[in-house]
């Protein structure tokens, strides 16, 4: 582009415009920023500036009722992260990573399997696809209430199913070891329809030639999937992994309504702890420090995604 401009300075500097529009240049305007201003103002006021403000608040013992009474603590709130008070920061970080890891691995594998099952289907397979997507479209707060009953160890469907299959039953949300797996089961039910549709979209645009060639060469269905389909789906998989990791790190409603962060803090994740410290215990400064750590973890995952992303989202950047 620079080469063209220097070689033929008479042309418009813009690479897209081949020739100058005779009447006037429609696309080039000094006022372009004004069109983006409403969106940029909303983002600045409620996203970009507040993110910086979180850092600021995290340096204070913040007084929510009267900010003027706040006491400067420097990095004191960050030092407190490693205190042994319950629930500890490290345990909640571990719960966040446990939940996100299980959602990424389980959600990706499950939705890929479901997409392979439902691809190129007729009316019936399309109906199943809608059924899978339905939980994702319905509110988490309402569906979490349903799953509290499903996980009830006295009369719930989950234990009834295990019981009928002669498998050992579980205390689900009422035991600190099985509570997190229960929340993961619920979250997979709620999220997997979305990622399945994303995989279906990826499968629908795959070129057929390679698979056909592989079949001609006598590849088994498994070999064909492993060496060809899975490989071609890589950009979609990267996108699904990234979006699942980021939404799981932010997950809040299911922990609030299903398990209330318990029992014995077993499902207190970092994002639940931010809420708990800032809005229940009114320790806004400490909550902000936790939020900054959560932000750092999210940015880390986003940057890893940027570095590894190939085709799928390069259209955006």
């Amino acid at each position: 582009m620079t080469a063209t401009t220097t070689a033929r300075p008479a042309l418009a500097t813009d690479g897209r415009t081949r020739r100058r529009t005779p009447a006037r240049d429609f696309r080039t305007t000094r006022w372009g920023w004004a069109y983006s201003a409403p969106a940029v103002l909303i983002f600045s006021a409620f996203v970009i500036v507040p993110t910086g403000y979180t850092f600021y608040v995290s340096l204070w013992k913040w007084n929510a009722l009267n900010p003027a009474m706040s006491v400067y603590r420097g990095l004191g709130n960050y030092q407190r992260l490693f205190d042994a008070t319950q629930p500890t920061f490290l345990s909640s970080l571990w719960h966040s990573l446990y939940f996100s890891g299980a959602m990424v691995v389980g959600g990706t594998a499950l939705s890929l399997a479901l997409a392979l099952l439902l691809q190129r289907g007729g009316a019936l397979l399309n109906a199943s696809r809608v059924a899978l997507f339905l939980p994702h479209a319905t509110p988490m707060i309402a569906t979490s209430m349903i799953w509290v009953w499903i996980f009830n160890p006295r009369f719930g469907l989950a234990d009834w199913m295990l019981h009928s299959l002669h498998l050992p039953t579980s205390q689900w949300l009422q035991s600190s070891t099985s509570a997190m797996p229960a929340v993961i089961v619920y979250s997979l039910w709620h999220e997997v329809g979305f990622t399945t549709v994303v995989f279906l979209g990826g499968l629908a645009v795959l070129p057929n030639e390679l698979s056909e060639a592989a079949r001609m060469d006598g590849c088994s269905a498994w070999q064909e999937f492993w060496h060809i389909t899975w490989h071609q789906l890589r950009p979609v998989t990267v996108f699904v992994v990234a979006i699942t990791a980021i939404t799981s790190l932010q997950a809040f409603t299911q922990f609030y309504q299903l398990s209330d962060g318990g029992p014995v803090y077993a499902t207190t994740t970092l994002s639940y702890l931010v809420y708990q410290e800032a809005f229940v215990l009114s320790d806004t400064g400490y909550g902000a420090a936790l939020a900054v750590v959560l932000f750092a973890v999210t940015v880390f995952f986003t940057l890893v995604r940027r570095r590894t992303a190939t085709g799928a989202d390069s259209a955006l950047t």
Partner: protein, 292 residues
């Protein structure tokens, strides 16, 4: 995996009527399993009192509607539904306007600072809701916006996903079409209004249905921003927050709560089922990411 067993997998998946039938049956069973929790909720809501705690669980409804009327009269549901519809519609309108203008700017116009503003909007994707809830609460409190409709609409009135979806649609339009209109002397806003909007309409539909649903289903934001708006006659809380309050007040009345879950979820479910094609298209174009 040995060659013979994988050939077995292959024949099961790809070839033969038996394989195709097995695939259909499996898909049907999985689909049914995903919908079953909703069905069971309806069964509980229509069951006789005390029946919900039977083991094995009751799986057929008894059509006892008393739970529904008890739950319906226990909270100002009409007001709560009205709030949700108002907040969701306001957010959709604002989002459509901001996405259309910014998508037009980033996709069509050339201006100094365009790259910077594009990167700024993309950076928003990295700044997630849980992190923002503390400073935004402080901000809303300073501006006296707590317990208002405004704080539930304006902050969500711009969407990175929406902006980039509109931008993609504008990039796909042949340049000559917009330029030809400009040659006729139409202003940029005029071109955007009478030629741009019809051409990006599919994007606008996807944005509208997804933002509407996202607003309807949101919880953390409204529960924090309207926490002291409990007075039932003038509450600005949306229906999901009302449901959560109802659940903590009437937690032991399972059939009543099941009824409330059912009648608060039915509208949003119907909305999804009518427009499911748009949602599935939205999921396919979701590479733009989802905020909050």
């Amino acid at each position: 995996m040995t060659a013979s067993s994988s050939r077995g997998v292959r024949s099961l998946i790809r070839a033969g009527r038996a394989g195709r039938l097995a695939r259909r049956v499996l898909a049907l069973l999985i689909g049914a399993a995903f919908v079953f929790p909703f069905y069971w909720t309806v069964v509980i809501s229509l069951g006789r009192p005390g029946e919900f705690s039977d083991f094995p669980p009751v799986l057929l409804p008894h059509w006892d509607w008393s739970n529904w009327s008890r739950a319906w009269h226990a909270a100002p549901w009409v007001r709560l539904f009205g709030n949700t519809v108002l907040i969701a519609s306001g957010t959709v309108l604002l989002c459509l306007a901001t996405s259309l203008l910014a998508g037009f700017a980033f996709g069509v116009l050339r201006f100094p600072g365009r790259k910077f503003l594009t990167m700024l909007v993309l950076a928003v994707l990295m700044m997630p809701g849980t992190v923002l809830i503390i400073p935004d609460y402080v901000l809303a409190s300073d501006l006296h916006l707590l317990n208002t409709y405004w704080i539930q609409i304006i902050p969500w009135g711009a969407s990175v996903f929406g902006i980039f979806l509109v931008r993609q649609f504008f990039l796909a339009i042949p340049q000559e079409i917009l330029d030809a209109a400009a040659l006729d002397g139409a202003s940029r806003l005029r071109v955007l209004w009478s030629i741009g909007i019809p051409m990006v309409r599919p994007a606008l539909v996807i944005i509208a249905v997804n933002v509407f649903l996202g607003s309807w289903n949101s919880f953390l934001w409204p529960v924090i921003m309207t926490s002291s708006s409990m007075d039932s006659s003038s509450t600005v809380q949306p229906v999901e927050v009302g449901l959560s309050t109802f659940a903590s007040a009437e937690g032991t009345d399972f059939p009543g709560l099941a009824a409330a879950v059912t009648f608060t979820t039915l509208p949003v479910m119907a909305f999804f089922l009518v427009l499911q094609r748009q949602f599935i298209r939205g999921a396919l174009s979701a590479a733009g990411g989802v905020r909050g």
